[in-house]
Structures are given as C-alpha cells and as structure tokens.
C-alpha cells in the first residue's frame, strides 16, 4: 500500500511530488511505523515496505543438483507472493547463502542470516545432516526454518516447520499398498548408509514384521556415492524377494538402477518400491532404466489437479520447459506460502507468534492438494504411489487418505 503511494507520487510534477511525498512520508511515519513496531517486536529485518528472509541451500558441491529445485521453487513462491502484494503490505527480500554441501558451512551461514541479517524466516537445508548442524543455532537465536525434505522423523523443534513428510507418512502407506495390491510377503530392504535410510528401514521392518506379517529377507546399506551393486543383484536373484524396498540416494541411484536392469531385474519380473527417486533423480537415472518400478511420495509432477497445473505451468515458464518438479521441490514451494499464511494469521513477523499461528493452519492452494499444519509442525498430507514411465514422469496409481504426521512413532523405535 505505502510503496504504491510513494511510487506513483514520483510521476507527479516535482513540486506537487515533494508535497505529496512529504505528506505520504508523514502518513507512513504515523501509520506504518507504528505498524512496523507492532508486527516486529523482536528486532527482525522488517521495514515499512520490506521484510527480509534467508535462503540457505547448497548452490555448489555434491548436493547442488538436488537442492537447485528447492531454491527455484522457493524463489518462485516468493516472487508470486510479492506480485500479489507481499506479506502484510511488505515485499519479501531474499538473502541467499550457499551451504556448499558442507555442514559446518551451513552452520556458519545460518548464524550469519540470523545474527547479522536478522531474517524473519529461513527457507533451507536439504540433507538431515545440514538440518542437524543448523538446528541448535535456530533454537538459540529463535529463528524459523522451513525445511522441505522428506526425512527420518525423530525430531520436533518449535523453530522448524517440516514441509516434507516424516518417515512413517511416506513408508507405511507404501508398504500397505504393496502388501495389498501385490500380495507382497517378503521384502529386501536396502539403502544408502546414513540416518535417513537406516531409520526408514527400521520403521519398515517393524511394520512388515509386526503389522503386515511379512518377512525381511535382506537388509543392506551402501556408502554414499557407492556405484558397485553387483553382489547385491546376485543376492536379490538368490533370495527372490517379492519387493525390493529401496532408499538409495544421490548419484548411487544411477548405478543401482542401471545395474539392476543389466542383471535382468526389471519391472516385469520384480516389484520395486523406492522412497528416494523423484522426477529430479529420474533425470539422471533415465526413465527407461527403471520404467515400471514404484515410488512412494506425497507429490508427483503428474498429479492431476488445478493447483498443480498452475504450479507446473508457472515453474516451467520461469525455469524452462525441460524443468522437472520433484517431491521436495513442491514441498519447498509450500514454505513461503505457509509462512505467509502464518504471518497473516498472527498479524506479526515475530517468530513465537508465527509459530503459534502455524498449528492448525490450512492451505488448499498447495500443488499436492490440501495440507494442514499439525501441532508438531509437520504437515498432514496424502501419500501417493507413482509408477515410473519411460519418459521420466510418474503415473499415480494410488492415493492414500490424509495421513497424520507422527515423528515419534510408538512401537516403531
């Protein structure tokens, strides 16, 4: 509002403009400055016309390939919010920092954003390790982080809003589906060797053994970046599991699926359900190398609803028609919108008030459909099963009901 007033006044003849500017300045100082003091009692970087937020992802290093989608989606959301009038009449200004795929750098940059730049919110992080590195800083400085990645759960900080799914949301519905639809009884669990796959498989094993009455015939972890899956393909052939349940991440995926295909383990003979392949990874793997396999996610680019159609169109208009949108990219896109909704509900940028306003917040414009913020700051969301198509997209074959986020699942620890 105020920025429009001063902006248009510049076009008036000079003397008139001066008078108008003086008047509007006066108006601003009376009206808006009290407003600024009102919406920001904790010294955040909020002026009458602008609010500063931080963006903290890896623009360089091994994680850049994964995090670029999130950077783009958050930028898109912020631009759209600015175009529609900003938040509480203020335009969002972004300070982008590079975590460089290096956890200590994430910590350093998080500190900079919160202590120096006094940003009102940070959209960022991707890996669990980077989140763990910045978490103590957010808690101490009372910052607010919107974290987009599906992750292992076992965490609930009041300073973080988790816009991706926690492990039980992603895993249980997927396992139930393969058990029911494919009659799966035996499972081969495998993943990259770090906390997320390990925790996910722990939950999966409990669910398979205690709820589904199935059997785990193998459980293996490979170092991050591993490209040798030869012995694995032999073991799979030997033990013939009904389902391979995979959480292999990053570059390893490419080698993994190519070697499975080379060993003749393809979708016509073997069911495979993965937690870690989105459209982004498919670009690298090649749709033809894993066509027919399934992924369990809350979002696929091919989701058929008006919100998503609009989102995909805007994303492609900005980043090119070849751009693909994965689960995390969509979750990252939700961040700024959820923050906007919470700030407007709270009528304040203060972190405590925004956090308090977040619980119970509903968003029905999300590309994934309706989402709702739980009291534990995770999202209620649906889980979908997508089948890989040769063109690098997924076709959605199953959609669950809205699932409650439960980062500390009883009986699964």
């Amino acid at each position: 509002m105020d920025s429009k007033l001063t902006g248009s006044s510049r076009r008036l003849p000079r003397r008139l403009a001066q008078g108008a500017a003086a008047l509007s300045m006066l108006a601003m100082s009376i009206f808006a400055s009290t407003a600024s003091a009102e919406v920001n009692t904790t010294g955040l970087a909020v002026t009458d016309t602008e609010v500063v937020v931080g963006q903290l992802h890896s623009a360089t290093g091994t994680m850049a390939i994964s995090e670029t989608g999130s950077i783009q989606a958050e930028r898109l959301a912020i631009e759209q919010i600015n175009a529609s009038g900003g938040i509480l009449g203020r335009q969002i200004k972004v300070i982008q920092e590079d975590g460089a795929s290096d956890w200590p750098t994430f910590a350093e940059k998080a500190k900079k954003l919160l202590e120096r730049d006094k940003v009102a919110a940070v959209f960022g992080c991707w890996t669990s390790a980077s989140r763990k590195a910045v978490l103590p800083i957010f808690e101490r400085e009372n910052g607010l982080l919107y974290y987009p990645t599906f992750y292992e759960g076992l965490e609930q900080s009041k300073n973080v809003v988790y816009t991706g799914q926690e492990a039980t949301q992603q895993i249980l519905a997927g396992l139930d589906w393969v058990a029911k639809e494919k009659g799966a009884k035996t499972f081969y669990l495998l993943g990259s060797d770090y906390i997320w796959p390990r925790t996910s498989m722990k939950i999966a094993r409990k669910h398979i053994e205690n709820v589904l009455g199935g059997k785990v015939v193998g459980e293996e972890y490979y170092p991050l970046g591993n490209t040798q899956f030869g012995s694995l393909t032999n073991k799979i052939k030997l033990r013939k599991p009904d389902v391979i349940f995979a959480a292999v991440v990053g570059g390893s995926n490419v080698a993994f699926y190519k070697q499975l295909k080379a060993a003749g383990i393809t979708a016509d003979k073997q069911t495979l359900l993965t937690l870690s392949v989105t459209e982004d990874e498919l670009l690298g793997i090649g749709g033809e190398n894993m066509a027919g396999f399934y992924a369990s996610m809350k979002y696929f680019q091919s989701l058929d609803n008006p919100n998503n159609a609009e989102f995909v169109k805007a994303f492609k208009a900005k980043y090119g028609s070849d751009a693909v949108i994965g689960d995390v990219t969509q979750a990252a896109y939700l961040g700024p919108w959820l923050w906007k909704a919470a700030v407007e509900k709270a009528g304040s940028f203060d972190v405590d008030k925004v956090v308090a306003a977040s619980a119970g917040l509903e968003l029905d414009t999300a590309p994934e459909g309706y989402v709702k913020v739980h009291e534990n700051q995770h999202l209620w969301s649906k889980t979908r099963i997508g089948q890989v198509q040769a063109d690098g997209q997924f076709s959605v074959v199953y959609e669950s009901d809205l699932i409650e986020p439960n980062p500390f699942p009883k009986g699964y620890q």
């Binding site: 460089a100 350093e108 900079k112 390790a129 978490l135 103590p136 101490r140 770090y194 722990k202």
Partner: protein, 399 residues
C-alpha cells in the same frame, strides 16, 4: 637467559613479528569485530593450528601429510564426545527409549553407552585424550612408515588413505559416532553454556592464547638443534643418516607434534562451533589445510596463521557475495598463489615488502638514535637472522 628467550621468540625480528600477530588477534580483532565475526575468526584460527603444524612437518621436516584432518577430527571428536555426554543427561533425553545416552545412539537401537565412550565422562581424561589420542595415532603411523623408510609421495598417499578410511569408519559406525551427521547439539562445558556471546569471546581468547603457545613451541623446536636437523633431513636425508642420526625418530617426533597441534585446533573448533562432523576428517579438508599453509608460506609459522585467516576469510566473503560463483574465485586464488608466489604470503613478504621497508629504513639509520628508534619498531624488516627467513632463502636455492 637471553639465548633461551631468543629461542622462543626467534630473535628481535621474530619477536616483533609475533607481537604484531598477537596484537592483531588479541587486540585488533576483538575490538574491531562484532561477536559473530569474531567467532568466525576464532573458527579460522582453529585451522591455523593445523597450518602451524604443517609448517613444522612439511615446510621444515619435508613430510607432506595430506591427512592432517585425521588429527583435527580426532581432537574435535574427543571434545565433542565429552560435550555430548554432558548434553545427554537423563533429564533432557527422557523422550528417548533409553534416556541418558546420546540421541543418535538411541536412533540406532543402542541401549547402553559403549565402552570407549565411558572415559569421556571425565573432563580431565578428555583434555588428555584430545592431545594423546591423535599423538598416539601419529606415533603408530610414523613408526610404521618412517622406520621402514617410507617417505615422500608414498607417505602423502598413505596419510590420504588413512583420512579416507577414518571417514568411512566414522560414517559407517553411526550408532557409535553419529555417522555423517556428526556429533551435534553440544550445549555446555562443565555446566557453562558455550553458546552465549560471552562464552564465544572467552573461547576466542583461549583459542588465540593456545595458538600463540603452539607457535612458541614451534619456534623453540626450530631454533633448537632438532630444528636444524629437520632441515638437514629435508634437504639431504642420507647425509644425516650417515652422520649417525636416527632420522626416523626425528620425523616421528615432528609428525606427532603436528598431529597434537591439529588436535588442539580440532577441540577448539568443536567448542566454538558447537559440533563435529566427519566432513573435517576426509581428504578434501585435509588438502584444504595444506593449502592454508601453502598460501601463508610453508616455511613460516606466522605466515601459516595469516594463510589460514586469509583463505577462510576469502571463502566467507566470496560465498556471501556470490553464492553460486564463489568456488571459482577460490580456485583462481589458489592458482594465482601457486603460479606467482610459490613461497606464499611469507615469501612475498621476504622478496618484496621487506626490501622496500629496508630501503625506507636505510636513510633513517643515519639519523640520530632518537629518531632511529621509531622505525625499528616496525614489523620485521628483512627478517634477517630470524628462523622464518633463513630457510626461505634456502628454499630459493634448492631446485
């Protein structure tokens, strides 16, 4: 008396250089920087410990270790284990299935504290372990390598391999080590909150004092007969051996000293940054640490500190201003240093600035003593006669 002091401070010139550095990190930085930037400088200075160690073992001893991250990491992990145990009291971990153990152990279905963690409940033991564990590992590596006369590039490759092995070990044993996440969320040291601004400032000064102490120890070693032997070994190892010296023992000693310095840096890093992760142990950080020493000048203990400060400052500034391009700037900086200033900042100082300063000083020498006293207070002019300068000249003469 005087000669002992000289040994420590490297003569008058060396003493002045040290005073300038001490003034810079003890007075100028704390006054000029806010607590955020000061904490950052404190972090950079922890890398300077590694660089100082590298000057000793690489610059003077000719032992190029590409695995100093091992020792930095071990020192850091020892400290982190103590802090993590303190942060994991049963009260604050009651949400876990097994309260009282570190959170990542609980996530990995570990139900009691592993044996090797238990001594780290004692602060005294931790302080000892910070220095002793890396030093013992360095001793073992040194014994295995130098006694068998494995040296040069083979040694560098082996240290690199050990760095890679240790990273894999830490990441693989996540129930015991925190895996790729590292040991995070460290809060207090003996009940003292290390996350507050005051704590950061105190830790900064402790860090700075320890660093200056390490430099003094380094100077003492270099000024002693041992230092001269190291240089002799670097330049003509066979000759020293045939003179009846046990070359391997000297190498092991200096390698252990460098390891201990790195470990102190690592422990201070953990205290100031609040976590430790395997990303400091691997090959890439280890090579980065060599670059700090190379940029500073591998023959200069003080240069190493400036090198660590400059490179890390560059990293921070470039990445803040150009989040997507900064790596290229860093690459350009390293290429420029290697191509144009092979002896690093210290070399640049000796070949250019000091001559220029000497020229400035020459006329003033003829002035009455009262006026001459002033320029003599200047930073080390030619560096002639100091430990830092002699080898730099030797380096130029060696092919």
């Amino acid at each position: 008396m005087n000669s002992t002091l000289d040994k420590f401070f490297g003569g008058k010139q060396g003493g002045i250089g040290l005073l300038v550095l001490a003034a810079l990190i003890l007075v100028v930085f704390p006054l000029a920087l806010d607590s955020f930037r000061l904490n950052m400088v404190g972090k950079y200075l922890t890398y300077a410990f590694v660089a100082v160690g590298l000057v000793l073992c690489w610059g003077y001893g000719g032992i190029l270790s590409l695995g100093q991250g091992i020792f930095f990491g071990l020192g850091g992990y020892c400290m982190a284990m103590f802090l993590k145990l303190e942060a994991s009291d049963p009260e604050s971990t009651k949400i876990q299935s097994t309260p009282g153990i570190p959170d990542f152990m609980d996530w990995n279905q570990i139900t009691e504290l592993p044996l090797f963690w238990q001594p780290f409940q004692s602060f005294g033991f931790t302080l000892l372990a910070v220095v002793a564990v890396p030093a013992i590992l360095a001793l073992v590596i040194g014994m295995a390598m130098f006694k068998r006369r494995v040296g040069d590039v083979y040694f560098s490759i082996v240290t690199q391999a050990i760095a890679a092995i240790l990273t894999i070990l830490i990441i693989g044993q996540q129930g015991l080590t925190g895996g790729v996440n590292g040991i995070t969320d460290l809060k207090t040291l003996l009940g003292w909150d290390i996350r507050t601004d005051e704590a950061k400032i105190i830790l900064y000064f402790v860090n700075a004092a320890l660093l200056l102490g390490c430099i003094l120890i380094g100077r003492f070693i270099l000024a002693s007969k041992l230092g001269r032997l190291l240089m002799a070994m670097r330049d003509k190892e066979e000759r020293v051996r045939f003179s009846g010296y046990d070359v391997a023992s000297f190498k092991i000693f200096v390698f252990c000293v460098a390891a201990s310095f790195s470990a102190i840096g690592g422990a201070m890093f953990t205290l100031q940054v609040g976590f430790m992760s395997p990303s400091f142990v691997g090959i890439v950080p280890s090579i980065e640490m060599v670059i700090f020493a190379a940029v500073g000048g591998r023959m200069s203990l003080l240069g190493a500190v400036y090198g660590a400060l400059l490179v890390n400052y560059g990293k921070t500034v470039f990445s803040e201003s150009f989040p997507e391009l900064w790596l290229y700037f860093m690459g350009g900086l390293f290429i420029a240093v290697v191509m144009y200033f092979p002896n690093g900042l210290a070399g640049l100082w000796h070949s250019h600035a000091s001559k220029w300063l000497a020229r400035l000083r020459l006329p003033s020498r003829r002035q009455p003593p009262a006026a001459a006293a002033q320029p003599a207070e200047q930073p080390p002019a030619s560096g002639a006669g100091t430990i830092d300068a002699v080898p730099a000249k030797q380096l130029e003469s060696t092919p």
